[in-house]
Symmetry: C3
C-alpha cells in the first residue's frame, strides 16, 4: 500500500485566510486512482524552515507531494527548499509534468518545480493552482507504484527486461 504525504505550501492557507483546496483535491485524486493509498495532508507557510520541518515529518513515506510555491514570486521557495533537502535529483518527473501542464496553460513554462529523492522517499513538486495540482496528481498516480518499486531496488536488474 502506497504511503503519501501532501504538503500544501501557502502563506494564506496556513494562516486560515482561505481553506486549502489543492491538498484535499490531490488526496481525492490519489484515492480514486490508487485504491487503498494512505494519504496525509498538511499545510505550511511559504517558509523554508516550515517546509523543511514538514518534509522531515514525512520522511519514510513513499512519496511527498507538495502543492504551491513553485512560481516566480519572491516567496516561492518550494523548489530550492526541496532540492537542498533531497539527496538526489529526478528531473524527468518535473520535465514531464511541466510539458503536460503546458497543454493546459502556456504559463506552465514558469513552473520551477523540482523532483528528487531523500533516501527512498520521492519528493515531487506539483503546481499550486487547483487545476494544475489535480492534473499532475492524476498523471503521477499512473506511475507512482512503479516509482516506489524502483526506489526499493525492485527494478535494479535492468538488463533482464528485454
Amino acid at each position: 500500500m502506497l504511503k503519501v504525504a501532501v504538503i500544501t505550501v501557502s502563506d494564506r492557507a496556513s494562516r486560515g485566510e482561505y481553506p486549502d483546496r489543492s491538498g484535499p483535491r490531490v488526496r481525492e485524486v490519489l484515492e480514486r486512482e490508487l485504491p487503498g493509498v494512505d494519504v496525509v495532508v498538511e499545510v505550511v507557510a511559504d517558509e523554508p524552515r516550515s517546509l523543511r520541518a514538514a518534509l522531515r515529518r514525512h520522511l519514510g513515506r513513499d512519496y511527498i507531494l507538495t502543492t504551491g510555491g513553485t512560481g516566480l514570486a519572491p516567496r516561492d521557495i518550494t523548489p530550492e527548499t526541496c532540492a537542498r533537502w533531497c539527496d538526489r535529483e529526478a528531473p524527468g518527473i518535473s520535465e514531464w509534468l511541466r510539458r503536460e501542464s503546458q497543454r493546459e496553460t502556456p504559463h506552465a513554462v514558469f513552473s520551477r518545480a523540482y523532483s528528487g529523492m531523500k533516501g527512498r522517499t520521492l519528493v515531487v513538486n506539483l503546481p499550486g493552482s487547483l487545476r494544475g495540482a489535480e492534473l499532475c496528481a492524476r498523471l503521477l498516480a499512473g506511475v507512482m507504484p512503479h516509482g516506489r518499486d524502483m526506489a526499493h531496488g525492485g527494478d535494479h536488474e535492468p538488463q533482464k527486461k528485454q
Copy 2:
C-alpha cells in the same frame, strides 16, 4: 511597460569582425510582439567577466535575454555565467525553448541554455543563431508579461485561480 535588455555574447561581434545581427533581430521581434516594450541591446565577448558586468548593468530590468554562447565550444560560457549570477533557477523556460527549437533543427539538443532569476529580473538564454534567436524571442514574447507579473508577486494567490 516591459523593460528588457538583450545581451549578445560573441567574441567576433564584440571585436567588430562582423555586425551583431541576433541582438537587433531579437529587439525587432519584441517591439513587434509587445508594443511599447523598452529594449536595450549590448554586445560582449565570450568572457565570464564581461558578461557578468553586463548582467549587473541591467539588473532591475524585467528581462535580460542573452543570445550566443550556449553551445559546446570551449568558449561557450553563457549558461554557467548566468547560472552563477542568478539566485534561482527557472528550468521550464529553457526546456520549452529547446523543445520548440528542435522542431527547426535537431541540433538544438546541444543547447545548454539556462533560465533563472536574480531578484525580480528574469534571465533567459536564447540561441546564438539568427533564426534560433528569432524563434525563441517570438515564443517568449507571448508569455513575458505574465512572467513579469509573477515575479512581482501578482500570481501569488494560486488557489484563487480555479
Copy 3:
C-alpha cells in the same frame, strides 16, 4: 572518425552473473549508424570509484556513453558520478532522450540520466534496459558528428548560419 567509449554500469554484469548485453548492443547500433566509428566497451560495478576510473580512462574520446545506473534504486549512482566529474552540463540531450523514451515506456520519467562535458568529451547517460539503450543510441547517432564538431569549436560562429 568518431571515437566512442561505452561503459556499462552494472553490479551483476561486472561480477559476471550475466553477460553484458546493453553495451555490445549500443556498439552494434553505433557501428551500423556511423560507419567507421571506433567503439570500445567496458563494464564496471555501480560504484562511484569504479565509474570515475573508467571515465578517466576514456577522457579524450569524443563521446563516453554509459548504460545503467540511472534509476531510483539506492545503488543507482551514474548521474551523480558523471555530473561531479564533468565541467559543464548539457541538459538538452537528456531532456530529449527521456522524452523520446517515454513514447516507449511511461516509466522513462524516472530516468535521472545526465549529460555534460569534460573538456571536449561529451558524456551521455543512456538507460540500462536493452531496448532503452538501443533506442537512445540510435537517436543519438544522428547528431553525434555535429556534437563533436561543436565541441571542437567548429560551430562557434553562430551568426554566420542564417
